[in-house]
C-alpha cells in the first residue's frame, strides 16, 4: 500500500508541504513553543530493523508525585513504554536538563500526532534534588505539562523525600551526580553535576536504551519506541506464539 494514500498521511503530507519555517511549525504543533531540532545527519535504521537489548532492570523505590503522595517508582515504569530522565529544576546547562525537556516536549507533540501510539507511552521526570525540588516546586516546574493528556500521554513529575530515598534510584540507573559550585559569576552557585541520561524503559520495566546528549534526538527516540512496539506486536502475533510453543 502506498503510505501517502492513507488519509492520515495525506494530512501529514499537507503539513510537510505547508511548513517551511520553524515559526509556522511551532504554531502547527500547538500552544507550546517547540525549538526546532537539527536534522539527524544520517539515515537512521528503520524501526524494527534493529534490536534494543535489555540493558538492565529499572530500579524501584519510593517516589513522591506532585500531589505529595508517595508511591513506588515501578508504578511509573511498568505497563507502558516509559521515557525517564533525571533533572533538577535549577539546572541551566543547555546540554543538560533543558535539552532533555526540549526533547520530551517535541516527542509529546509527535506522539500526540500518532494514533498508533495513543496510551502506550508515558514520560517521567524525576528530580535528583530532593532538598529543593519539593512536590510544590515540581508542580510549578511542570506547569500545564502535568495535566495535559493530549495523545493519551501522561507526563509525571516526581521527586523523593530525601537523599536516602533518592540514591538507590540514582545508583540503580547508573546516573552519576555530584555537588559542585560554579563561581564564575563571583557568587557560588550550587550545581548538580551529572551526565545527561534519558532512559527508555519497556512495559516489563527493563531499560532498553540510554541516551546521552549526543544520542538524544526526538527522531531516534521515536524510532526506538516504534521498534519496541513492533517487537511486542511480533511476540503477541499468532504466528509468533505458534513458533514459540513448538
Amino acid at each position: 500500500m502506498n503510505a501517502w494514500r492513507n488519509p492520515r498521511n495525506n494530512l501529514a503530507l499537507a503539513l510537510l508541504l505547508g511548513l517551511f519555517g520553524g515559526l509556522f511549525i511551532a504554531r502547527a504543533l500547538g500552544a507550546h513553543r517547540i525549538d526546532p531540532f537539527p536534522a539527524l545527519s544520517f539515515a537512521p535504521p528503520p524501526p524494527g530493523s534493529y534490536i534494543l537489548h535489555r540493558i538492565m532492570p529499572a530500579p524501584d523505590g519510593p517516589v513522591v508525585g506532585i500531589d505529595g503522595r508517595s508511591r513506588p517508582l515501578s508504578q511509573y515504569t511498568r505497563g507502558q513504554m516509559t521515557l525517564l530522565g533525571f533533572i533538577y529544576t535549577t539546572c541551566v546547562d543547555p546540554e543538560g536538563c533543558p535539552l532533555a525537556y526540549r526533547v520530551f516536549d517535541t516527542l509529546k507533540k509527535a506522539i500526540a500526532a500518532t494514533p498508533a501510539l495513543t496510551g502506550k507511552v508515558r514520560f517521567v521526570t524525576l528530580s535528583f534534588d530532593p532538598a529543593r525540588d519539593t512536590p510544590d516546586v515540581m508542580r510549578r516546574y511542570a506547569g500545564s505539562r502535568a495535566v495535559d493528556m493530549s495523545g493519551g500521554l501522561r507526563w509525571y513529575f516526581l521527586t523523593t523525600r530525601s537523599a536516602r530515598e533518592l540514591m538507590p534510584l540514582v545508583e540503580g540507573f547508573g546516573q552519576d551526580v555530584r555537588v559542585t559550585y560554579d563561581r564564575s559569576s563571583g557568587r557560588a552557585r550550587r550545581e548538580l553535576s551529572h551526565v545527561l541520561k534519558v532512559f527508555l524503559i519497556d512495559r516489563a520495566g527493563d531499560v532498553r536504551e540510554i541516551y546521552s546528549s549526543l544520542f538524544l534526538h526526538p527522531q531516534t527516540v521515536l524510532n526506538d519506541i516504534e521498534t519496541l512496539l513492533m517487537e511486542e506486536s511480533l511476540r503477541s502475533s499468532p504466528a509468533s506464539v505458534t513458533k514459540n510453543t513448538r
Binding site: N6, F37, P45, A110, K197, Q219
Partner: protein, 426 residues
Amino acid sequence: MGYIYPGRIVLFVIACWAFAGTAFGDETCNSPYISKLIKGQEDYVYVWTLGVEGLGDGFDKLITIDVDPKSKSYGKVLNTLSTGARVEAHHMGFTDDRRHIWAGGLSDNRIWVFDVATDPARPKLVRTIADLGEKSGYLGPHTYYALPGRMLVQALSNTKDKSGRTGMALYNNNGQFIASYAMPTEGGGDGYGYDLAVNPKKNALLTSSFTGHANYMRPLGDLIKDGEAMKKFGNSMALWDLKAMKPKKIFSVPGAPLEIRWSLNPKDDWAITATALTAKLWLVKQDGRGEWIAKDVGTVGDPAKTPLPVDISITQDGKGLWVNTFMDGMTRYFDLTNPEAPKQTYEKITGKQVNMVSQSWDGKRLYITSSLLANWDKGGSDNEQFLRGFAWNGKELSQKFEIDFTKEKLGRAHHMKLGSKALRAG
C-alpha cells in the same frame, strides 16, 4: 510500504538547522560519550602496566603518576595497585561517567574495573568481570569504549582456536553482559579486530584489525620468520551502523590498521588510522556522493624498514597527529591541516623503543610509554621501560620527567589515561 507514523513526519519537519556543536573528546583519544573533560592541567597519568616475572611482585598493575608540575611529587609514583595476575595487560578505558576505568589483558578474559572517582590519586579495584569468554567466546579484551551506560569491548581473539577470528562484547556499566557482535567475515571482512571508534553525528562505528592470540603471544623474532603466521594479520576496516550494530561496508586497508581516531573538530567527519606492517596513514571519509571510502594518504617513516607505527594521538582541533613508531623509537608529528595529505613536520627519538602516546587536551604535554607486548619488546639494553613526560611548544619536544619502570620494579609501561583531582566524586 507500511504505515508511516505522522509523528515521525512531524519530527522530520521540525529538523531544520545544523547540529548544535557539542564539544567532545577528552585527552583527545577517548570515547566522545565520556563526560567531564580535562581541558586544563591534568593531575595524574594512570599507566596500565604489564607485570614482569621476578620484578617486584611480578603482576600487572595500575600505577598512578603525579604529573602536576606544581606538586612536590611531580613525576613520581603516587600509587601502585596490583591485580595479582599477569595476563599481558594492554589497554583500558573510562566509563561514560568517568567514574571507572576498565582494563584487561590479551592473554586472558578477565576485565578489571577500577574506581577512579572516590580518590583519583588512589584507584580501587571494585569488580572483576570474568565471563567474557563464557558469554561471547572471545579472548583478549583490547579496546574499552564507553557508550551511554554501557561499555563496548573489542576483543582480539577467541577461546576456541585462539586465532584472530573475534568480535565485540557489550556490557552494562555494572559489568553485566548484554550482547556480542562478530567481526564481519563476508564482503571483504577478515574477522580480525583491534580498535573501535564512534562518530555519533554519523551513527558510524569504525573497527580495525590486528591478529590473534596465536600470533601476538608469540616471540616477535619467531613470528616474523613464519611466513604462514605473518599472513594471519588483519587487512581491513569495517564501517558499522552503530544503532543497529551491523556492518555496512568493509574497506581494504592492508597491513594491520590499528588505532582509529575521528577528528575532534565538530565540523569534521573523517577518521585516520595507521597500519602497523605497511607504515601507512589511511583516511576514512565520505566522498562527494556521501559514500564512505578509505584512502591511503601517506607513509610513516620508510615503510621498507618496517618502523611499526603503534599508536597515534590526534590534536583536539583535528589539525595534527602524533605517531609513535616502535622499532626506531621515533615520535613524529604530522600536520593534518589537509587530512588528504598529512605532512610530517617534526620527529624526535624519544626512546629505544616507544609505544603509546597520549597528549593533553591543550596539546602542550605529551606522555610516552615503552612497551608493545611482552614478547615483542626489544631485549638487552634496548628494553627500556618507562613513562616519559614531554612539553611541546609547537616546535620542540622537551622531556620534563621520566620514571624508569624497571628500576622502580613496576614492569612494562603500556596504556595511559589522564586523571584529575577535580573529578573526585561527592
